[in-house]
């Protein structure tokens, strides 16, 4: 058996925040598209996104981190019914 990678004991992750280095963006089939005119910056999408892929600047929703957005559509579903500022669209069609 050849030399293999040294692995941390029991799969422990020693570096905080290392999930950032793992690109989940490649999993995406549908991508979220924001309609800035409709958005009220309530930030419900920011709270609900499982991959911390909603980018917020100065308290405002400004877009998506496409390196980590996996296209789950939770943000589109959770955006309040009266607003519906996010649409999920096919990757290629976008």
């Amino acid at each position: 058996m050849g030399k293999r990678k040294e692995m941390p004991l029991g799969g422990v992750i020693l570096e905080a925040g290392s999930a950032e280095t793992y690109s989940t963006g490649g999993w995406r089939k549908l991508k979220p598209v924001l309609d800035k005119d409709k958005c009220t910056n309530c930030l419900i999408c920011w709270v609900m996104c499982p991959d911390s892929a909603i980018i917020v600047e100065d308290g405002k929703m400004v877009g998506f981190d496409m390196e980590h957005c996996k296209g789950c559509g939770i943000c589109a579903t959770e955006c309040p019914d009266k607003i519906k500022a996010i649409k999920m669209v096919e990757e290629e069609a976008a």
Partner: protein, 397 residues
């Protein structure tokens, strides 16, 4: 043998009381538990020690064994010393979590008071419970007597927490036969225990907020096999650690513990291999035969996980016929697990013994001296060139 032991307190205790006392002397930081016959006495007595302020342990009375083992995992991950006890269905209910404890490489020690598994329901001794967990990545040490169960717990703490091992360990003793029988034993002083077990130094404690870590992260096909391979190498390394810790314990107490016990094995033509309390009964049969000049012997495995296959083969290579007794059936149609592993270990010997397997004692059925003598009689026939009537079989009951 070492210098005169400094320990001298002799008492009579049941196996469960001795386990509870060992736990008191170890004084683990956390003990999550859910009682089940026949190990109930362990937690009953240990919880008295907690209530009386005799230990500093935080006792967590969980709502099931699955939860108890989950709490053990959380506490060990946090970086403290953890112990618990269970039996039978309780161990079966822990099954899922056993793999998580071992896969995360979390040291802890669990006393397993061996009991049959349902159905049919039965509260008495056999090894169905711990043998069903034999591939869960835990070290398994089997105890013949109350003294040994008591002594094994201290050693298990050291083995499990050893930096080369970092793997959880079970100390098994026979339900009722050992757990509820009063036997004489020699105790260690509290100070000797403290010195022997030392401090637990967790490699990556979750509670170290200066060095945040994540445990239990997902691994994909590009890394899972590496972790499992590392785990496999670690439990294999435990074999030498068990021997080293046993020698150190011998120097402290004068009581000898190896990977297995050899009883009248020198020049033995026929050998019974059996674990736990049944070995005591077998020794009586060996003595009777030796008195008549018949060359019978016993090999009693103490360490079953990891399995010391080389050493066992070496110890049995001079025998002509061997019978491995399993107090459990693998339901494979090919005997029990101990039989299969011993026979496999002997396969590479150039002129190894003929090896048969017999299943005995399920659900607490008695195993008597005449049963052992019957096995030896069959082995002598095989050793004399007789035919092996059946490789695997239930011992007549």
């Amino acid at each position: 043998m070492a210098t005169v032991p400094s320990t001298k307190v002799q008492v009579g205790l049941t196996g469960n009381s001795a386990v509870a006392l060992a736990m008191k002397q170890i004084d683990p930081d956390v003990c999550p538990a859910y009682p089940i016959t026949p190990s109930t006495g362990v937690m009953e007595e240990f919880s008295s020690y907690v209530a009386d302020g005799k230990v500093t342990t935080e006792l967590i009375t969980a709502e099931s064994e699955h939860s108890a083992m989950s709490a053990c995992i959380g506490a060990s991950a946090a970086g403290v010393r953890v112990m618990t006890a269970t039996s039978s269905q309780g161990l079966a209910l822990m099954h899922e979590m056993l793999y998580i404890a071992s896969g995360l490489r979390l040291p802890m020690v669990m006393a397993v008071v061996n009991r049959a598994l349902s159905a049919p329901i039965n509260i008495h001794c056999d090894h169905s419970d711990s043998m069903a967990s034999r591939d869960a990545g835990w070290i398994q040490i089997y105890s013949e007597t109350v003294q040994e169960a008591y002594d094994n717990l201290f050693q298990a703490v050291r083995i499990s927490e050893h930096s080369k091992v970092l793997t959880p360990a079970m100390v098994c003793l026979d339900g009722f036969i050992t757990s509820h029988a009063v036997e004489g034993l020699t105790l260690l002083d509290d100070s000797e225990v403290k010195q022997f077990i030392g401090e637990f130094k967790p490699p990556h404690p979750l509670l170290d907020v200066e060095k945040p870590v994540t445990l239990g992260a997902m691994t994909l096909p590009d890394t899972y096999i590496e972790f499992k391979h590392d785990q496999s190498l670690a439990i294999a390394r435990a074999k030498d650690v068990v021997a080293e810790v046993g020698e150190e314990f011998d120097r402290l107490t004068g009581r000898v513990y190896g990977l297995f016990e050899e009883y009248m094995l020198d020049g033995a033509d026929v050998v019974i291999v059996v674990m736990s309390s049944a070995a005591g009964t077998t020794k009586v049969a060996v003595d009777e035969l030796r008195k008549k000049g018949k060359r019978a012997g016993l090999l009693r495995p103490r360490l079953f996980r990891p399995f010391p296959y080389k050493e066992i083969a070496e110890a049995l290579k001079g025998a002509k016929a061997v019978c491995v007794l399993d107090r459990v059936d693998s339901m494979s149609g090919f005997g029990g697990p101990l039989f299969n592993e011993v026979r496999s270990a002997l396969y590479d010997l150039e002129k190894g013994p003929r090896t048969i397997g017999r299943i005995f004692g399920l659900g607490g059925r008695d195993y008597k001296v005449e049963d052992a003598l019957g096995v030896f009689e069959e082995l002598f026939k095989i050793a004399d060139g007789g035919k092996v009537e059946s490789v695997v079989e239930y011992l007549a009951y």
